[in-house]
C-alpha cells in the first residue's frame, strides 16, 4: 500500500477549511481557514489563548478537529494520519525532550524510532548537535540546560527526519535577542533548503521579519490574512502615543488626529491617546495641528505598533484574546501594570 503522489497536484503544504475545536463551552478554534504554499513561511500571530497551539495540534494530528477538513501536502489529516506524520516535524510550545536523558541520547532515540540504524542514528545526532552548537553540552544532563539550549535541542529533534513541513509553536518565546536572531536565521535556512514552515508568535515584528504570509487570529477566528506589507499598510508602521495635559481636550485631540491621519484613535484613561501612523514623518503635522488648537501635551511617544494596536486596527476592538495578552513591545507606559493580572 505504498502511495506516491503526483508531484504537480499538491502545491499547498497546508490546506485547511473551517477547522473547529471546542473544549467544553469554549470554542478555542472557531472556523479557521489556512492555506500555506510549499516553500514559504506562514506566521500565525495572536495573543494568549487565541487558539494558535490548538490549530497546530490539530494539523499535527494530536487533536481531532470537531469540524472542518485539513490536508497536508494533499493528505487528509483524518484518514491519512500516519502519512501526515511522516511529513511533519513538530516543535511544540513547551520543549518535548526527555529530561532524564542527555541531548545525544534524546536525538539518537528519536532517530532510532524513525527507523535509522544504530550507526546512522549516531551520525545524525552528532550532525544535529554540531549544527545547533550543542556538541559541548551533548552529554550533560538536560536539567543543566538553559532555556535557549532546550529550544535548540527541541528543534533539532524535529528535524531528524528532514520533514518538508515544520510546525514551530512560539519558537522564540523566552529567548534573548541574540538567540532569537539566530533562531530566525535557522528558520530562514530551513526554508532555503526546501522546507515549509508554520510558526506562531505573539510578536508582530517577528512575523514581519520572517513570514511570507501572516495570519492573525483572535478568539479562535482569523481576523486578517495578508502579506507583511499588506498588513502594515492596514495598520501603519508606527504607533503614536500622546497624553494631553487636560483630559477635557482628549475628545478634541482625537478628532484632530483622526482627521489628519485618517485612522481610528483610541483613548485610554481619559487623557492617553494612541493611533497608528503609516510613517513617523506625520508626527510634526500632528503636533502643529494640536498646538494650533491650543491643546497642551504632557507626553509624546512614537513606537512600533503593538499587537494590541494591530487588533484595534483590524477589529476595531481594543481588548484582545482572553485579556491576558502580553504586549509585543514593552515601550509603553507601565503605569497600569499593577492591575494587569487582576
Amino acid at each position: 500500500m505504498t502511495i506516491t503522489t503526483n508531484s504537480t497536484d499538491c502545491v499547498l503544504a497546508v490546506e485547511a477549511h473551517g477547522l473547529v475545536k471546542q473544549f467544553g463551552a469554549n470554542r478555542a478554534v472557531d472556523g479557521v481557514d489556512l492555506e500555506i504554499k510549499t516553500g514559504t513561511i506562514c506566521g500565525v500571530l495572536g495573543p494568549n489563548g487565541a487558539g494558535k497551539t490548538t490549530v497546530i495540534n490539530m494539523l499535527a494530528t494530536l487533536l481531532k478537529p470537531d469540524a472542518g477538513v485539513a490536508k497536508i501536502f494533499g493528505h487528509d489529516i483524518e484518514s491519512e494520519t500516519q502519512i501526515v506524520r511522516q511529513l511533519i516535524g513538530l516543535t511544540g510550545q513547551f520543549a518535548s525532550i526527555d529530561e532524564e536523558l542527555s541531548a545525544t541520547e534524546n536525538l539518537r532515540m528519536f532517530a532510532r524510532l524513525l527507523g535509522f540504524s544504530h550507526k546512522d542514528a549516531k551520525v545524525k545526532a552528532d550532525e544535529l548537535l554540531d549544527e545547533f552548537g550543542l556538541t559541548e553540552a551533548a552529554n550533560r544532563p538536560l536539567s543543566k540546560f538553559s532555556g535557549g539550549m532546550r529550544r535548540r535541542l527541541d528543534l533539532a529533534a524535529s528535524l531528524i527526519s528532514q520533514p518538508p513541513l515544520i510546525f514551530l509553536d512560539e519558537p522564540t518565546t523566552g529567548l534573548d535577542p541574540r538567540t532569537r536572531a539566530k533562531m530566525w536565521q535557522t528558520v530562514r535556512n530551513l526554508v532555503q533548503n526546501g522546507s515549509t514552515v508554520l510558526l506562531t508568535t505573539q510578536l508582530l515584528d517577528e512575523a514581519d521579519q520572517l513570514a511570507d504570509d501572516i495570519v492573525v487570529i483572535d478568539k479562535g477566528r482569523v481576523v486578517a490574512n495578508n502579506t507583511p506589507d499588506g498588513l502594515k499598510k492596514s495598520i501603519g508602521t508606527a504607533s503614536l502615543q500622546l497624553t494631553v495635559k487636560n483630559p477635557d481636550d482628549a475628545e478634541l485631540a482625537r478628532a484632530i488626529i483622526g482627521n489628519l491621519l485618517q485612522v481610528n484613535v483610541q483613548i485610554a484613561k481619559t487623557s492617553e491617546l494612541s493611533a497608528p501612523m503609516d510613517s513617523a514623518d506625520k508626527l510634526t503635522n500632528v503636533l502643529d495641528a494640536l498646538k494650533d488648537s491650543g491643546i497642551q501635551l504632557y507626553e509624546v511617544n512614537v513606537t512600533k505598533p503593538t499587537l494590541d494596536e494591530v487588533f484595534f486596527a483590524l477589529t476595531g476592538s481594543g481588548s484582545v484574546g482572553d485579556n491576558d495578552n502580553e504586549l509585543a513591545y514593552s515601550g509603553r507606559s507601565n503605569s497600569d501594570s499593577k492591575g494587569l493580572w487582576r
Binding site: 506524520r85 532524564e100 526546501g194
Partner: protein, 272 residues
C-alpha cells in the same frame, strides 16, 4: 547549518500503516529508553530488591509455624507465593509509571511521529521484565539463604522466574489500561492497588484455601489465574512437571492481553 536539501513531499514513499517489524523495533527502542532511564536512577529498582527480601522473611517467620508446623515445611508453599506477589506488585507499578510518562511533553512528540501507536506503552511494559527478573532472583536467593532447596533444581527455578515474569507482563496491560483512564498518578497508583491486593491475597499464595469462606475459596481456587500460576510454580519446583494449572494460568493471562491491549492502545491514541 546543513545544506542537505529537503526531499519534497511528492517524491517521498509514504505509508499509511506501520508494519509488524517496525512496531517491534519501535517497542525495543522504547524498552531500551526505559532501561537507560532506570539505570540512571537506581532507586527505581529499590522496590523489586527490598520487597522480596522483606516479604520472604516476614511471611516465613510469621506464618511458617502456624500454617505448616515449621519454617522449612512452609518454604515450598511460601516462596512461589512471594514470587507471584512481588512480580504482580511490580507490574501494578506500571500504572503510575505510565501515567507519569503520558503526562510529559515527550508524549505529544511521540504522538506526532510516524511510529507504532502501541510502542511507547509496550516498550515501557516490556522493560519491566527486567524488574520482574530481579524480583524473582532475589526471592529465590533469600529462600535459599533460609534453607529452601527446590527438588527440581536450578533449571526449574529459572523456568519459574521466566513463567512468572510473563504472567506479570500480561497483567501489566490491565494496569496500563487503568493508567490511560485516570487523570493523575495518585489515582493510577491507588486504582492499581485496589486490583492488585485482592488478586494477590485472595489466592492460594500464602495460606491453604480450605479454611477460607466458600465464596472467597471459590474465587481463590477456580477463578483467580494467579492461584493457578502459583500452583503451577509449586509443581514445577517440586517435580519439574507442567500441570493443567500451568496452561490455565497461561490462558488466563493471554485472555487479559487479548482484552486489554486493544482497549489500552485505543485509550492512549484517543485524541480529545
Amino acid at each position: 547549518m546543513t545544506n542537505t536539501l529537503i526531499i519534497p513531499a511528492s517524491e517521498r514513499r509514504l505509508n499509511n500503516y506501520v508494519s509488524m517489524e517496525f512496531t517491534f523495533k519501535n517497542t525495543l527502542t522504547f524498552a531500551y529508553r526505559s532501561l537507560v532511564k532506570g539505570f540512571k536512577n537506581p532507586e527505581s529498582f529499590a522496590d523489586v530488591v527490598i520487597m522480596p527480601v522483606m516479604f520472604t522473611l516476614m511471611f516465613t517467620y510469621l506464618f511458617g509455624g502456624a500454617i505448616s508446623g515449621d519454617v522449612t515445611a512452609y518454604l515450598p508453599i511460601i516462596v512461589p507465593g512471594i514470587l507471584m506477589q512481588t512480580c504482580v506488585t511490580g507490574s501494578s507499578n506500571a500504572a503510575s509509571q505510565l501515567r507519569e510518562d503520558m503526562d510529559k511533553n515527550t508524549t505529544s512528540r511521540f504522538k506526532s511521529m510516524p511510529i507504532a501507536r502501541i510502542a511507547p506503552l509496550a516498550g515501557i511494559l516490556t522493560a519491566d521484565l527486567v524488574r520482574y527478573a530481579i524480583a524473582g532472583v532475589i526471592t529465590f536467593a533469600v529462600g535459599a539463604l533460609i534453607g529452601y532447596r527446590p527438588p527440581a533444581g536450578l533449571f526449574a527455578v529459572l523456568a519459574c522466574i521466566l513463567f512468572m515474569s510473563l504472567i506479570a507482563w500480561c497483567l501489566s496491560w490491565l494496569f496500563a489500561f487503568i493508567a490511560m483512564k485516570v487523570k493523575s498518578v495518585a489515582a493510577a497508583s491507588s486504582g492499581a492497588m485496589l486490583i492488585m491486593f485482592p488478586m494477590a491475597f485472595l489466592s492460594n499464595a500464602f495460606a491453604p484455601t480450605e479454611t477460607m469462606p466458600s465464596a472467597i475459596r471459590f474465587f481463590a481456587e477456580h477463578i483467580n489465574p494467579l492461584s493457578k500460576a502459583v500452583s503451577a510454580t509449586r509443581e514445577i519446583l517440586a517435580y519439574g512437571t507442567l500441570s493443567s494449572d500451568f496452561y490455565f494460568a497461561l490462558l488466563g493471562s493471554l485472555a487479559i492481553l487479548a482484552v486489554f491491549i486493544p482497549l489500552t492502545v485505543r485509550a492512549y491514541g484517543k485524541r480529545r
